[in-house]
């Protein structure tokens, strides 16, 4: 089993001390079900902070942490968590010191996720609330069918770019792709079937890359304040990308929004 090294992350020395004071789980050779059971037991016994080291492919971390009292926990993962990290997440804060795989934040309701690396496919699928920050790139079908409801407005910020089907069926929320490597956005079928929410792309996008139901427009002052808020948070959280806040915020952005909240309203004969 591959071992991820604890100190490969961007933590400062004092942060590491603090982390080490938290409860430590060594996930070496621990199966998914057992690991998540241990996390749940720790939460129920009142622990607020847990570090899990040597994580290698264990799935659904954070998923079994719902209680009617809505206890909250902060989890730091060292290594590579498996698929569906934080699926149905209910208010917890999870940091991955490494890469994440597919399905991060699947149908999550609230909470925060930070990935100090890249994320796989179906990132933020159907998420209704909470925030996800991914330092590097992400895969296909990102922000698919993201929703929003009343005060819940999910936010996804990706430092790099995404693959095809970004924001497909998007029904709410905010997805921000910063393309910090400057490789330009190469995804196709962006926002196909989109009927809510907004996607901000730093740089530009060709109309041929974007679904029929999507409007491309320049950003206005309101958009700038949204970007300011979440990009600041991103830059603060990932100091390793350097002090690029101003440079990023002053770059060109395009905004993708749906043409209609009712894309299928004219499809039927009554």
């Amino acid at each position: 089993m591959a071992r991820a090294v604890l100190f490969e992350s961007s933590l400062k020395a004092d942060q590491i001390d603090e982390k080490i004071n938290a409860v430590l789980i060594d996930a070496t050779d621990v199966e998914t079900k057992e690991l998540n059971g241990r996390l749940r037991d720790l939460m129920l016994s009142g622990e607020k902070k847990v570090n899990i080291i040597n994580v290698c492919g264990q799935r659904f971390i954070g998923t079994r942490l719902y209680t009617p009292e809505r206890l909250k926990m902060e989890i730091d993962i060292f290594g590579t968590p498996g698929n569906d990290l934080a699926a149905f997440l209910n208010g917890h804060k999870i940091t991955v010191h490494g890469n994440a795989q597919d399905g991060v934040g699947n149908t999550m309701d609230s909470g925060e996720i930070f990935v100090e690396g890249r994320a796989g496919d179906v990132l933020g699928f159907s998420m209704r609330g909470g925030e996800i920050y991914v330092r590097d790139n992400c895969g296909y079908r990102t922000a698919l069918h993201m929703k929003e409801y009343e005060d819940k407005r999910p936010v996804l910020v990706v430092g790099g770019s995404a693959q095809d089907f970004l924001g497909e069926y998007m029904a709410g929320g905010i997805a921000i792709l910063l393309d910090l490597q400057g490789q330009t956005h190469k995804a196709n079928f962006i926002g196909t079937g989109m009927h809510g929410g907004v996607i901000y792309l730093r740089g530009s996008v060709m109309p041929s890359q974007v679904g029929e139901q999507v409007d491309i427009s320049p950003i206005n002052d309101d958009d700038r304040s949204v970007l300011d808020r979440y990009v600041s948070r991103f830059v603060e959280r990932f100091p390793e990308i350097g002090n690029r806040l101003e440079e990023i915020l002053n770059s060109q952005f395009v905004k993708l929004t749906p043409k209609s909240k009712r894309p299928y309203s004219n499809l039927y004969a009554y």
Binding site: F88, D109, V122, S126, E150, A171, R262, Y264, Y268, Y270
Partner: protein, 504 residues
């Protein structure tokens, strides 16, 4: 554009009987009847009529008859009236023809070609009024082997058992979402389920918060591709979670709850903005394979702390038995199989009437497939789609199902007449609508009583039929095809059903 489509129905009013009370005018949300004050009489416009019979039932003088319009095109075996009318509608609108309810085409109904057995002489029949008759059913995975220890007469089960649903009768209410149906209809189903010792299924529209505490104990909560109203609390408030992959009325496609039906309360329950289309994509976009399905099943087990069985609902299609085998291996505790005649609030008619296979054939091939692979114990089968009466239920069980879902039958119990106009949101019976004026017509107490009565009556009929066969527990009938014979079926049909012909 002038429409060339005939009215579907003709309204005949007996002017002698009509008392001009204008009840029909108030009853019809389609605006079929209007009062002409000058002539002091009611005028009816045939082309607006949905044929739901609400005005007929509620006319205090029995003055109204609604019947199929006698106008006809020149008879033509190939070009039926329905084909012509649909084609004209599409020529006029360029739209997809929508329909509600299940497939109404004359495909063979196998229930009506299967007969049941009864005891004569050698194996005495049982009178359910005098002797105990067990209909209680456990839905969920059963262990491969049961390890028990007996100490001084006390039996202890040592094997860790999977969570199971316990139903007092093998009839559950099928997934009917709040949003598709009215709050009162939804609440009536929940009330009746709790009263009758069975379960209702929330469908994909979530479970209103004010109902969770009272009705969570008899709820199966559904997770569909739209993921509406789903959070950890919702997943944990019911007794089982069902992943909806497919629906018999519209296999392979998703659903669009039109913005008009997304009222404030529906928006709250689905957790989506008011008035937007609630779009369920055709596939779950996190499920593109059996492995992905396995992942969602596991995620739901994690989210519910392994305390609830997970069901997977699929439509019966050509290769579904092999797929179902994969679903069992993916960890599903229950498979719900929905056949060709399964109902819906709205589906493209072309899909509803042409895609999928009948439930009867599906149950048998699924049961036999899982038995032949030695994994039948790992999941229960709930059969759905076109169950109309207690004999359909008992035949489904003898073909291999553990229990059945009823949807259309439950709606009919509440007043539905299968007029198929569910998608208009103007249901005069207050079932399939979000208009408070219409949904207020459905009284929860009365509707839930009608549903409980139905379950009670069917359950008793099932006991009678079981007793007649000399069987005192439903379990002994499950997959027991010896008690079935086919009438008027081809060899291949008997083969698929796994039954003999009558007289054999």
């Amino acid at each position: 554009m002038k429409s060339f489509v005939f009215p579907e129905f003709q309204i005949v009013r007996d002017e002698e009987k009509c008392g001009q009370c204008r009840g029909c005018e108030r009853q019809c949300a389609f605006g079929t009847h209007t009062y002409d004050p000058v002539a002091d009489r009611l005028v009816s416009e045939d082309y607006k009529c949905a044929g739901c019979q609400r005005c007929v039932v509620f006319c205090p003088k029995n003055a109204i008859v609604v019947r199929p319009a006698p106008s006809f095109y020149r008879p033509n075996a190939s070009w039926s009236r329905e084909k012509l009318d649909d084609l004209k509608k599409q020529a006029e609108t360029g739209g997809v023809i929508l329909a509600g309810c299940g497939c109404d085409k004359p495909f063979r109904i196998y229930w009506d070609h299967i007969v049941l057995n009864a005891s004569q002489v050698t194996n005495p029949s049982i009178d359910p009024l005098r002797e105990p008759m067990e209909l209680r059913t456990f839905l969920g995975a059963k262990p491969d082997l049961m390890d028990i220890s007996a100490k001084e007469g006390d039996i202890e089960i040592k094997t860790k058992l999977s969570p199971n649903l316990v139903v007092e009768t093998p009839i559950l209410f099928s997934a009917l979402s709040y949003g598709a149906i009215s709050y009162n209809a939804f609440r009536s189903l929940a009330t009746a389920a709790c009263k009758s010792g069975t379960y209702f299924n929330t469908g994909e529209g979530g479970l209103p918060r004010d109902m969770r505490e009272e009705f969570g104990r008899c709820a199966i909560v559904q997770v569909a591709s739209g993921r509406f109203g789903i959070d950890a609390e919702y997943l944990n408030c019911g007794q089982a979670v069902e992943i909806k992959v497919g629906q018999g009325a519209k296999p392979g496609i998703g659903g669009h709850l039109p913005g008009e039906k997304v009222s404030l309360a529906v928006a709250e329950t689905r957790m989506i903005p008011l008035g937007t289309d609630a779009i369920s994509p055709a596939p779950h976009h996190d499920i593109y394979s059996i492995e992905d399905l396995s992942m969602l099943i596991s995620a739901l087990k994690e989210a519910t702390n392994y305390e609830k069985p997970i069901s997977v609902k699929i439509a019966a299609v050509h290769n579904f038995a092999a797929i179902a085998s994969g679903i069992v291996r993916a960890g599903a505790d229950i498979i719900a199989i929905d056949g060709l005649r399964g109902g819906t609030g709205a589906a493209p008619k072309v899909i509803r009437d042409n895609v999928g296979i009948p439930t009867e054939l599906a149950i048998s091939s699924l049961d036999r497939r899982l038995r032949s692979e030695g994994i039948r114990n790992r999941c229960s089968i709930i059969a759905a789609g076109g169950i109309r009466c207690s004999s359909d239920v008992i035949k489904a069980i003898a073909l291999g199902a553990d229990a059945v879902y009823i949807g259309s039958a439950a709606l009919i119990a509440m007043g539905c007449t299968l007029c198929q106009k569910c998608y208009t949101g103007k249901c005069n019976w207050g079932i399939c609508t979000q208009d408070p004026r219409l949904s207020g017509r459905l009284n929860v107490e009365i509707a839930s009583q009608r549903l409980s009565n139905l379950i009670f009556a069917w359950s008793h009929e099932i006991r009678e039929m079981l007793g007649g066969m000399g069987i005192n527990a439903l379990e002994s009938l499950r997959g027991n095809r010896d008690h079935l014979r086919g009438l008027g079926l081809h060899e291949w049909e008997l083969d698929v059903l796994g039954i003999k012909g009558a007289g054999e």
